[in-house]
C-alpha cells in the first residue's frame, strides 16, 4: 500500500513539469481522456470556462486524482465555490456571522473572512448539478470510509445508465463490505428485472428474495399489483410466482423487524420501570413501608446529574459517570434521614407511613422548586449516549435506551448479589422474614432498617440518573413515576426482586404493544385497569412470598 503511494508520487513528480510546460497549448479544446490536464489547470478552467463549456470543465476536473478534488466538487454543488473579486483566486466559502469564512480551493488553507460583496459565485445549471452529483458519487466510491462508499452506491444506483452500471459492477468485484455488496446486488437485481432475458429476470427475483430495502419492496408490490381489469400486467407466470413469494418473504422480515422494535421499546420502557420500582420493592418488601417519597428520591438523583454537568460542562460523560455514585450517596443519605427522623416512629402502621412519606415528598418537591426554579432543566446526553445503532434500514436502536437497559440489568444484578452474599443482605433477609426472631438472634434491627431504607433510596437516586437521560428534569419528575412504580411492585409481588424485574418488563412490553392500536394514553389506562383487575384475582402479585414470611 505504502509502496504503491510512493510510486504514484514519483510518477506525479516526473510528469508534472512536463504537463506544466505544455499547459498553455492544451488548455484549449482538448478531448477529455486523451490527455489529462493538471489539477491547477482544470481548477482554473472551472472558473474561466463560459457557462456552455462549464459542464465539460467539471467532467475533466472530476477525473483528476487530488486530495482537494472531492472537496471542491462538493463546494461547487452546494454553491460554495467562489472567485475572489480582487485577485481572481478560487475559494471555498461558508457563511458565518453575515460574512464568509474562506479556504483556498487548491490547498485547503484557511484564509481571512470576507463580506459577500467581494465574492463571485460560480453558477451552475441543473444539468451540471446532476452531473456533479454523479461525479461526486463516483469519487466517493473510492473512499476508504465504508459509510461514504455505501452512500455513493445508493446515489449511483437510483437511476443508473449503462456506464454507471459497469462501474458499479467493477466496484462489486473488489468490494469487501457486506452492506455495500448488498446495496450493489439490489441495484443489479432491480436493473435485471427490466431486461428482456427471462433467465436474468428470474435470477434477479432470486436475488431480491434476500433484500429488505424499501426499493425492493415497492418494486415487487408494483410488479404483483393487478391492473384495472383485474388481471396482472405481468404475463410471465413463473416471474409472477417468484415475485409473489419474494414479496411475502420481505414482508415477513419487515414484520419481524417491527416486532423486534416493539420488543426493544417495551424492554427499554420496562427497564425504566424496573429501575424506578426496584428500590421501592426493597423498602416495601423488606420493611412493609410504603415510601411515597420514592419518586422524589429519584428526582434528587436526576438533579444530581444536572448539577454535576453544571460543574463539569466540558466533560459530560465523566459528569454522568460520577453522578451515579454521588446520586446513590445523596439519595441514600436522605433516605436514612427520613427513616431515622420519621419512619422509625411508625413501624407496624403502614398506612401512616404512606401519609408521612407523602408529606416528605411534598417537602422535597417544594425544596427543589425553591432552589432550582419550577422550570424543567435539561441534562445533555454525552456523545456516546446520543444517536442510535442502525442495525439495518428497518431497525435502529437508540443508544441511550440501550445503555439504560444494560444499566438496569447491572443494577439489578448488583442488588441481588448484595442481598444474597453480603452480611447486610443476610441481615436484611432475616429481618424481612421474622423481625422478632431476628432481634432475638442479636441482629441490630434498627440499624438494618436504616441501612435497608438507605439502600432502597440510593437505588432510587441511581434510577434518577438514568431517567435524566430520557426525560426532562423537573420538580414533578418523581410524581410521574410513583403510580407506575407501585404498580410494578404490586404486580410482581412484594418483596421479590425477580418479580419486580419480570413485572417491569411485562408492563413495558404490554404498553408498547398496545400503543399502536390504542394510543399512548389509552394504552396506559388499559394497563392500569388490567393491574387493578389482576390484583383482585391474585392479591399478592405474580410471585407471592411463600411460607411463614407471608403471614406478617
Amino acid at each position: 500500500m505504502k509502496l504503491h503511494r510512493l510510486l504514484a508520487n514519483i510518477v506525479k513528480l516526473l510528469i508534472f513539469p512536463a504537463l506544466a510546460l505544455s499547459a498553455a497549448a492544451q488548455a484549449q479544446a482538448v478531448e477529455p481522456g486523451v490527455t489529462v490536464p493538471s489539477f491547477s489547470e482544470a481548477l482554473t478552467a472551472l472558473k474561466d470556462s463560459p457557462l456552455s463549456q462549464r459542464g465539460r470543465a467539471i467532467e475533466r476536473f472530476a477525473q483528476i486524482r487530488h486530495p482537494q478534488t472531492l472537496t471542491v466538487l462538493q463546494a461547487l454543488l452546494k454553491g460554495n465555490l467562489f472567485v475572489l473579486k480582487n485577485d481572481g483566486r478560487l475559494v471555498i466559502g461558508e457563511t458565518e456571522n453575515g460574512g464568509y469564512r474562506l479556504w483556498q480551493a487548491d490547498t485547503g488553507d484557511s484564509l481571512a473572512a470576507v463580506e459577500s460583496s467581494r465574492l463571485d459565485r460560480i453558477n451552475l445549471t441543473n444539468r451540471m448539478r446532476s452531473q456533479l452529483r454523479m461525479s461526486i458519487a463516483l469519487l466517493q466510491l473510492k473512499a476508504t470510509d465504508p459509510e461514504i462508499r455505501l452512500n455513493a452506491v445508493r446515489d449511483l444506483g437510483k437511476n443508473p445508465d449503462d456506464e454507471t452500471l459497469s462501474l458499479l459492477k467493477d466496484q462489486s468485484l473488489r468490494e469487501n463490505d457486506a452492506a455495500i455488496q448488498q446495496a450493489l446486488q439490489l441495484t443489479f437485481a432491480l436493473q435485471d428485472l427490466d431486461s428482456s432475458d427471462r433467465a436474468l429476470r428470474l435470477a434477479a427475483l432470486e436475488a431480491l428474495n434476500r433484500q429488505t430495502s424499501p426499493e425492493a419492496l415497492n418494486r415487487l408490490r408494483a410488479l404483483t399489483r393487478k391492473d384495472a381489469n383485474g388481471g396482472y400486467p405481468e404475463q410471465d407466470a413463473q416471474v409472477l410466482k417468484l415475485a409473489k413469494s419474494a414479496l411475502v418473504k420481505i414482508e415477513a422480515r419487515l414484520q419481524f423487524y417491527a416486532a423486534a422494535e416493539t420488543v426493544f421499546f417495551g424492554l427499554s420502557l420496562g427497564a425504566v420501570l424496573v429501575l424506578a420500582a426496584i428500590g421501592l420493592s426493597i423498602t416495601f418488601g423488606v420493611m412493609g413501608v410504603i415510601n411515597m417519597a420514592h419518586g422524589e428520591l429519584m428526582m434528587l438523583g436526576a438533579y444530581t446529574t444536572y448539577v454535576m454537568q453544571q460543574i463539569l460542562p466540558n466533560y459530560l460523560g465523566l459528569a454522568l459517570l460520577l453522578s451515579i455514585p454521588l446520586a446513590f450517596i445523596i439519595s441514600g443519605l436522605t433516605g436514612i434521614v427520613i427513616e431515622r427522623g420519621i419512619i422509625r416512629f411508625l413501624y407496624g402502621r403502614p398506612l401512616e407511613t404512606l401519609l408521612a412519606t407523602f408529606g416528605v415528598s411534598l417537602f422535597l418537591q417544594q425544596t427543589v422548586r425553591s432552589i432550582f426554579s419550577p422550570l424543567n432543566r435539561s441534562v445533555t446526553a454525552p456523545d456516546w449516549m446520543s444517536g442510535s445503532w442502525q442495525v439495518n434500514e428497518y431497525l435502529s436502536l437508540t443508544w441511550n435506551r440501550l445503555y439504560i437497559f444494560i444499566f438496569c440489568l447491572l443494577v439489578f444484578t448488583l442488588l441481588l448479589q448484595i442481598l444474597r452474599r453480603t452480611r447486610l443482605g443476610l441481615e436484611v433477609r432475616a429481618v424481612a422474614q421474622n423481625r422478632n426472631m431476628a432481634k432475638a438472634m442479636g441482629i441490630p434491627v434498627a440499624r438494618v432498617d436504616a441501612m435497608t431504607f438507605g439502600l432502597g433510596s440510593g437505588v432510587a437516586g441511581v434510577a434518577g440518573v438514568a431517567l435524566s437521560q430520557i426525560t426532562n428534569v423537573g420538580p414533578n419528575l418523581g410524581q410521574a413515576y410513583i403510580v407506575d412504580s407501585f404498580m410494578v411492585v404490586v404486580f410482581g409481588g412484594v418483596g421479590n426482586l425477580w418479580g419486580t424485574l419480570v413485572a417491569g418488563f411485562i408492563l413495558g412490553i404490554a404498553n408498547k404493544v398496545l400503543e399502536p392500536f390504542a394510543g399512548a394514553v389509552l394504552a396506559k389506562i388499559l394497563v392500569l385497569v388490567f393491574i387493578i383487575l389482576f390484583i383482585q384475582k391474585r392479591p399478592r402479585g405474580l410471585f407471592p412470598q411463600k411460607g411463614r414470611a407471608a403471614e406478617a
Partner: protein
C-alpha cells in the same frame, strides 16, 4: 328529645349548631349589611365558604371509609369529581345557544372538535332529575363494581390504597383525552344557570351555600345515625379485627361494600354542589394529589369521629386559602409538614387531642 339525641356527645351537637348558624347567618349578613361593613360577606366569600362546606362533606365521606372501615381510600376524589362532572354536564346543557358557537345541540367543545351528534351518554342531562340521579348513581356504580371486586377477593391495607390511587389516576388520564367527550384538558366550564337561576347572581350563590350547608348537616346526622346502628358497630369491629368478625359469621365484604358505596354517593353530592360554586370541573380534580389532600383533612381533624373530618376540612382549606394568597411557596411546605406532624405526633388528630384533654378516650 333533642338533648337525648345528642346525649354524651356535646361535640356533635356543637358542630350541628355551628353549621346551622353558618348556613343561616352568612346569607343574612350578605343580605342585611351594606358592602364595606365588617359583618358583610361578599359574594366571593359566600362562594368560598360554600366550597369549604362541600369539602367538609367530602371529608365526611372519607371518614366513613377510613375512620370506621379502616380502608385508606386514596381515590375518594374520583367519586367527588364524577358527581361534579354529572352536574357539569347538566349545566353545559343549560347553556343552550348562548355558547361561543351558538350551536343549539352541541356544547362548544364538541363543535370545536367538529363532532356532529351528541354522544349517547350525554342524552338526558337536559333534565335536572335525571342529572341528579346520575350524580348519585355514577359514583355509586363505580364504587360498587370496584368495591365488589376488591373486597370479595380480600384486597386489604396498602394494596387497596394503591389500587384506589391507580383508579383515580386512570380516570384522570382517561378524562384528559378529548375523545372521551368530556371537554378533555379544559373540562366543562362557562356555565350560565342552574334550574333557571343565574349562577353569577348573589342570590344563587347564597342558595348554593345554604344547600351545601343543609346537605352537610343532613349527611352528618345520617352518618352518625348509621354508625350508631348495628351496621356501624359491625363496621367498627371489622376495622379493628377483621378476621374475628368474619369468624363470627358476618359477611365482612358486604358491610364494607355498602359503606364504600354510601360514601361514594356522599362524595358525588359534594362534587355536584362544588361545581356550580367554582364554575368549572376539569380532569385535574382526579389527580392522586387531590385525593391525598382529602386524607390530610380527615387526619388533621381526627378520624373516626365524623365531626373531626368536618373541622379538619374547613381548617386545612382555610389555611390553604390564606397561605396561597400570602406566600404561595410556603403552602406545599406547610402541607408536607402537616402530613408528617399529624401522622407522627397526632395520630388521632385535633379531636383526639381534645377528647383526651377532656378525659375521654380517642378512637
Amino acid at each position: 328529645m333533642r338533648l337525648k339525641f345528642f346525649a354524651n356527645d356535646s361535640e356533635s351537637a356543637a358542630i350541628v349548631a355551628v353549621l346551622a348558624a353558618v348556613t343561616l347567618i352568612i346569607p343574612l349578613c350578605n343580605l342585611i349589611f351594606p358592602p364595606g361593613s365588617p359583618l358583610y360577606f361578599s359574594a366571593y366569600s359566600v362562594s368560598l365558604i360554600g366550597k369549604y362546606l362541600t369539602f367538609a362533606l367530602l371529608a365526611l365521606s372519607l371518614d366513613l371509609v377510613w375512620g370506621y372501615c379502616g380502608i385508606l381510600a386514596l381515590g375518594q376524589g374520583a367519586f367527588f369529581t364524577l358527581g361534579g362532572y354529572a352536574m357539569g354536564m347538566y349545566l353545559m346543557r343549560q347553556i343552550g345557544t348562548r355558547g361561543v358557537y351558538g350551536d343549539p345541540l352541541l356544547p362548544d367543545f364538541m363543535v370545536f372538535l367538529d363532532w356532529q351528534v351528541l354522544p349517547w351518554y350525554w342524552l338526558g342531562f337536559d333534565y335536572f332529575p335525571f342529572a341528579l340521579l346520575m350524580m348519585l348513581a355514577v359514583p355509586a356504580l363505580l364504587a360498587f363494581v370496584f368495591g365488589w371486586l376488591a373486597f370479595r377477593s380480600r384486597v386489604t391495607g396498602v394494596y387497596l390504597s394503591i389500587i384506589t390511587q391507580a383508579l383515580t389516576y386512570a380516570l384522570m388520564l382517561a378524562f384528559f383525552r378529548n375523545e372521551m367527550g368530556f371537554g378533555g384538558n379544559n373540562g366543562l366550564t362557562d356555565f350560565k344557570e342552574l334550574l333557571g337561576f343565574n349562577l353569577q347572581a348573589d342570590s344563587t350563590r347564597i342558595m348554593l351555600l345554604m344547600s351545601s350547608g343543609t346537605a352537610l348537616i343532613a349527611a352528618f346526622l345520617a352518618c352518625r345515625r348509621l354508625m350508631q346502628s348495628k351496621l356501624g358497630r359491625v363496621v367498627t369491629a371489622l376495622r379493628d379485627q377483621e378476621s374475628r368478625v368474619r369468624f363470627l359469621g358476618y359477611r365482612v365484604e358486604m358491610f364494607k361494600l355498602w359503606v364504600f358505596v354510601f360514601a361514594a354517593m356522599l362524595a358525588g353530592i359534594a362534587g355536584a354542589l362544588y361545581v356550580p360554586q367554582v364554575g368549572i370541573i376539569n380532569p385535574g380534580e382526579f389527580s392522586p394529589l387531590n385525593s391525598l389532600e382529602i386524607v390530610v383533612w380527615v387526619a388533621v381533624g381526627g378520624r373516626g369521629t365524623l365531626y373531626g373530618a368536618i373541622i379538619g376540612a374547613i381548617l386545612v382549606n382555610y389555611g390553604k386559602t390564606v397561605l396561597t394568597g400570602l406566600l404561595p411557596e410556603i403552602w406545599l411546605f406547610t402541607l408536607g409538614a402537616v402530613f408528617i406532624v399529624v401522622t407522627v405526633m397526632l395520630p388521632d388528630g385535633l379531636m383526639g387531642l381534645w377528647l383526651r384533654k377532656t378525659g375521654r378516650a380517642g378512637l
